[in-house]
């Protein structure tokens, strides 16, 4: 037996030697990288200035994701327009007719894409934290962090505008294997947004003269830390105003909004109304085009008939100049699915250039005209009613070519709100779903036509997507705040 064991030992020793040759000869042999695409881990573990610049460019591209869907989907809910493209019935049937939106299809949209963008921002922030100061200086890091947090705040703003009272999770910077971030209420989400913007403001104060990456041209001259701060403050003002109506915050929020506005790029000159920051689109290779710039002869997006019908008249009898500028008759009218109540007869020209559809037309993020109206709203409720009315008139006259408002400081709040909402509706038409969001803010959902004449239904919020409910062990159309 000894002999046997000896031989076996010899055999196994031989095999072991061979094995060691095999194993030893290949240090790193098994560490096969993925050369097909950049690896996320490479960005977070070995960040460099260049990689971060690419990721930052991705943040601006990511911020743009879903903006078109946001405009037409929320615009459909608020009866600004309708998507009659082709045979995709859910796109017009669901926002107009479903008594309860469902968390798949139309109702489940404007969620996952936004959170993918938020994940992107969090990954960027992780990598930024890790990069050496030799690559990116502390001042540049502060600038970068400020830009990322400002975009993150903007992303959460888009989320909560659609889900409103259902709330949303904000603690999502956790590994995918970790428990899901819990839902928090609307006011907390706005608080979170304001916190992000304020921390970005502080970071911008510590920033140098420039960002360590290229900011898209849609940001115009707001592409240095000092000018970017004006955008940050504009968004902070918007968040404060939205929070004010959404919760019991009231006057303090409006006061904070006014403070933020003073640091923003606000100007009340009509010539400056278009000043602001925009998302770029283009027909370039791998870029995204502006699909909302729909040619008059195409059959995709139409303006709701009420938009033209509800317009006030200028002194000469012509419609509100904003309607004349933004809506025109379609050359190819459309009645889809036999729903004669929602004919496609009017087209938006919001994104036209020189009277023609322009797939490279930018889409505004926030601009001066909105800031003026935000100031009007904040001033009215914070006590500066005269200033409020002056700003309303600045827009009424400057953009709508209408006569000054009949509302006075003695008028009830309801009269002012009606005037405010009219101007916000036409000034921001087909830009950010304002009509629906404002109707909900001021509890005036009845002002939004269900659909003329009968049978329609206007949803108050978009539901939580089915997959989100399922992953939380909840049934469809869940309310995670009150499961």
């Amino acid at each position: 037996m000894t002999n046997t064991l000896g031989l076996r030992r010899a055999a196994l020793a031989g095999a072991t030697v061979a094995a060691l040759i095999g194993a030893g000869a290949c240090s790193g042999f098994f560490d096969v990288p993925n050369t097909n695409q950049p690896n996320l881990e490479d960005l977070t573990k070995n960040p460099t200035r260049t990689k971060l610049a690419g990721a930052a460019s991705g943040l601006f591209a990511g911020a743009r994701t879903d903006i078109q869907g946001f405009i037409w989907r929320v615009g459909s809910l608020g009866r600004e327009g309708i998507n009659l493209s082709g045979n995709n019935q859910p796109d017009y049937l669901e926002p107009y007719f479903l008594s309860t939106l469902v968390g798949s299809g139309f109702g489940g949209a404007l969620w996952g894409g936004r959170y993918a963008h938020i994940r992107n921002i969090n990954i960027y922030l992780t990598a930024l934290d890790k990069v050496s100061t030799a690559q990116v200086s502390d001042a540049e890091k502060a600038a970068s962090r400020a830009a990322a947090n400002t975009l993150k705040a903007l992303a959460f703003m888009y989320v909560i505008e659609t889900r409103d009272s259902l709330g949303a999770p904000v603690d999502v910077d956790v590994p995918i294997t970790a428990p899901l971030g819990r839902f928090v209420g609307r006011d907390s989400v706005y608080g979170y947004i304001i916190g992000l913007l304020d921390s970005a403001q502080a970071d911008l104060g510590r920033s140098g003269a420039s960002f360590p990456f290229t900011i898209p041209s849609g940001f115009g001259s707001f592409n240095t830390p000092s000018t970017f701060l004006e955008v940050n403050r504009a968004l902070a003002a918007k968040a404060q105003v939205l929070r004010a109506t959404a919760a019991a915050c009231g006057v303090p929020c409006y006061t904070a909004a006014l403070g933020a506005l003073s640091g923003s790029f606000i100007s009340s000159r009509p010539a400056d109304f278009a000043t602001g920051v925009y998302f770029n689109f283009s027909t370039g290779s791998n870029d995204v085009t502006n699909g909302l710039s729909d040619p008059l002869g195409s059959v995709n997006f139409y303006a709701h008939p009420s938009e033209a019908a509800d317009a006030q008249l200028q002194a000469g009898g012509a419609k509100d100049q904003r309607v004349l500028d933004k809506i025109t008759a379609a050359t190819d009218t459309q009645v889809v699915g036999g729903i004669s109540e929602i004919p496609g007869t009017d087209k938006f020209t919001v994104y036209f250039t020189g009277g023609q559809a322009d797939p490279s037309h930018a889409i505004p993020i926030i601009r001066d005209e909105e800031l003026v109206l935000l100031r009007a709203e904040a001033n009215w409720f914070a006590g500066g009613k005269l200033q409020a009315l002056a700003d309303i008139d600045s827009v009424r006259v400057g953009a709508g070519k209408l006569t000054p408002t009949t509302v006075t400081i003695a008028s009830p709040d309801s009269a002012f709100v009606k005037e405010l909402l009219y101007n916000r509706r036409y000034s921001l038409m087909w830009e950010q779903g304002t009509r629906w969001i404002d109707a909900r803010r001021y509890n005036r959902m009845g002002d939004v036509p269900a659909t003329p004449p009968t049978g329609g239904h206007v949803a108050r919020v978009m539901p939580i997507p089915d997959n989100e409910c399922a992953a939380r062990g909840l049934l469809v159309n869940c309310t995670p705040l009150n499961p």
């Binding site: 055999a11 094995a19 095999g22 098994f30 690419g54 991705g58 290229t214 997507p465 939380r472």
Partner: protein, 999 residues
Amino acid sequence: MVQRTSFVALALVALGAAGASGQERQITGRVTSATNGEAIAGVNVSVTGAAFAAITNADGRYTISAPSGAATLVFRRIAFKRREVSVPAGQNVADAALEADVFNLEAVVVTGQATGVERRNAAIAATNVSGQEVSAVPAPAVDRALAGRVPGAIISQNSGAPGGGTQIQIRGNNTVIGSPDPVFVVDGVIYSDASLPTGLYSVTQSGANRGSGPTQDDPVNRLADLNPNDIESIEVLRGAAASSIYGSKAANGVVIIRTNRGKAGKPQASITQRMGFFELERGPATRVFSLTDTFPYTSATIASYMVAGQLPFYDHLQEIAGERPLSYETNLNVSGGAENTRYYLSGGVIHDPGIVLNTFNNRQTLRANLDQTLSGRLSLSVNTQFTRNQTDKGFTNNDNNGASVTYAIAYIPSFVNILPAGGTYPKPVLTYKGSNPLQSAALGTNDEVVNRFTGGATLTFQAVQTERHNLRLVGAGGIDLFDQRAEVISPPELYYEARLANPGTSTLANGHSRQWNWNVNAIHTYAPSSAAFKATASAGVQVEDRELETSRATAHGLLPGQSNIDLGAVFGDPFEFNQTERTLAFYAQEELLTLRERLLLSAGVRAERSSVFGDINKYYAFPKASASYRFPGLLGEGSELKLRGAYGETGNQPLFGQKFTTLSSTVIDNTVGTVITGTAGAPDIKPERVKELEAGFDATLWNGRATVEVTGYTRHTHDLLLLATPAPSTGYGQRIINGGVFWNEGIEIGAGLTPIQRKDLTWVFRTSFTSLKNRVQSLPVPDVCLPPGPAAPVCGFTPPNAGFGKAYGQFFIQQGRPITQIIGTDTVAGTCATTCQNYDRYLGQANPRFRWSFVNDVSYKRLAFSMLWDWQYGGVEQNQTLSLYDCNGLAPDQATPAGRARYDSCNLWSVAAPFVQSTTFLKLREASLSADLPERWANWIGARTARITVTGRNLLLFTDYFGYDPEESNFGQQAVTRNIDLGPYPPMRSFFFSITAGF
């Protein structure tokens, strides 16, 4: 490989051990065939209870050392039954006559990289198919020729296209998104069976560039590059205990192919010339219209097609797939050698034109196998193969652009003429996207060329050789390289191209595959002087490296008459993907044969690390254990019963890239940036793990004239690779995870009978039976639980390539349900008078109740006749070819109420049930009739022997299935989502006449 090494080793032993001990004697003798008395070379001669062995030379003679007392010699050789001869002390001559082994009872069953056991002892189910069985009736590829010959394997053709495209499923469905393919090992070299798309989808627009498009190109799986005529035997390792010798990628079984080798002796040559043709086997009939028909065309429309007062009738299927061009094949092989050098050389040429115009397969193969004895202890064998394989499959399968000819004819009513007149193709009005499929077939190109080299070598060193001990060291390795270049050209003058913004499409696709593997083994056999047992211990290491690079690019708006991709107006769909998998394995096992060679106990383990695992430093262990016991003579004289049982674990590796979370590129304002993709990788990913218990018995009766092998197994696949749907607030749409359990359980029966065995007449009958059931035992919750409605969540998900929506039927992986279930929309009875209320229901499962095949070989004097029938019962297929005809109102019975109901199912109600059809069929897969010509006739052409053969494949098919063949698979090789039929290349029947001359 194992057989070869053992031959060589044993030969060495004989040489090396001669005169080693004074206690021994020499026995000599001659081995002949019991049938014709001819000498048999290459017979293994061994002494029971001792480690001596020898091998017979070209004259059948051998010399072996033996103990001085009484001994028992055992004579074994492939294709012959083993024979034991008692040699009393003092007798030094022992001759033996061996009988033919028609049921391969004497094969050696692989138990490791360099070990094997005799089949009579094997504790695992193993199937051994001889090369003669797979090459007798020409098949496009080896795998298709295995159909009906391997219990436990369901082998289906993806389409009828020339050049192959076949899937093998062994022991059920063991994965969803992992690889569905078995491991193929040719002479010790791991042989790539990759299926690389040609880029046809860029023309048919069947799916996205990085999505389902390429999978719908009906690619050839590259096993097609082997020449079936070179194959000596194929061993199929089905169970986990058997296949675990390939560890983490053997969950779908292992197919070990050995090619022919030279034998010492006078050179022998054989030449085979085949000629024949293919024809349409089966296809959808089309509707014959009359002027009274009202749908889908008005009577007025139909009447407008009248010619000379008659409504014409054209059978478009015959027009596109009615070719019967001449096909031919030539094979030549030469083998021979001296004692120390043996060779096998072969060359083969095939030209198989298809039944669709301009489709074909041309394959040229060269093989050189060499066995060299270097010294008394060292031997080397080398195998090389070169293949050039060119295929043009034309434009078929799913389509969204009008290119696929089989798709387009489902849109063209029979009264529309599409035949060319004076070189001009009519532009049909009633068609799909402007297509004239005859023009598409005439002008389109979907061509791929593969150049492939496979080479391997085995070096065997006989380290120790005594009466009690035998220690061998075996090193083996090889490389498998191929380049594939494909070109899809859809010229601008094609009518469907002309409607596009940039007519004319050209796609260039390249693939480079590079695989190598080597292993080093030590095998020690110990036989104590008491002869109480024989123990074989082996250990080794194996390294595998597999690299595959694929790239494609497409140009649209081609210059007329041009095809280069730089001659287009718009460049699109660029694609490049490179993947590498590297694996290192250590393994060890012990086999103990005892109780007069009746009991075999075996246990082993293989530990692997791989670059595709999340933790590249971690070893995953795959253990196995098995036992068998023989009862000789239990069932009468010359009978034997063996009971066996085995437990084993094996795996399926994650696919390259599944562990990575990657970034994709994006552009804003002319600046490129990175964003996350929607899929979260699994940094901790591990292999899927199959745990299987199998048990069975093998019985041999009637002196080997009857044999039966019954195996039952139950296998659970754990840690499935899954695409889970996380909460979208995580930022990801999909997440790769390990989780869930699949369960497969089945029974496999292989049986053979020789009812007549006379000098002039023999009749051999074989049958194999396969049946399994399976279920999704668990799925991770809640990650992949999708709520279909307000009821409790249904835990399940739609696998990739599941079909075309529930209105047509689709696969759905659901906890507690059969893995391959197909669900679809149905309507609540009675609701369709107003508005249909729809619900989803189970429509069947792809997995059939059973597959049962029957082979009869009858030979009478010089004539031999063979038939293989294959019967599948149960199972369903998504017959989307039928849905095409039905949706367009062109099925032959469309004017009847039943036909009208199916038309409405598609167009009004979205009801799927009519389009999910049973796959029950009975098929005469193969038949052949051959005659050995008298020797004097052979001598006229200078040959020693001559044989003529008439063969046919896919001769008869009995089924209720509509249209083509119920084996079709639109998405090609798939784990679960097979059984989708959507305008495939029509199935072909073949007839060949061949003549073989031996020199």
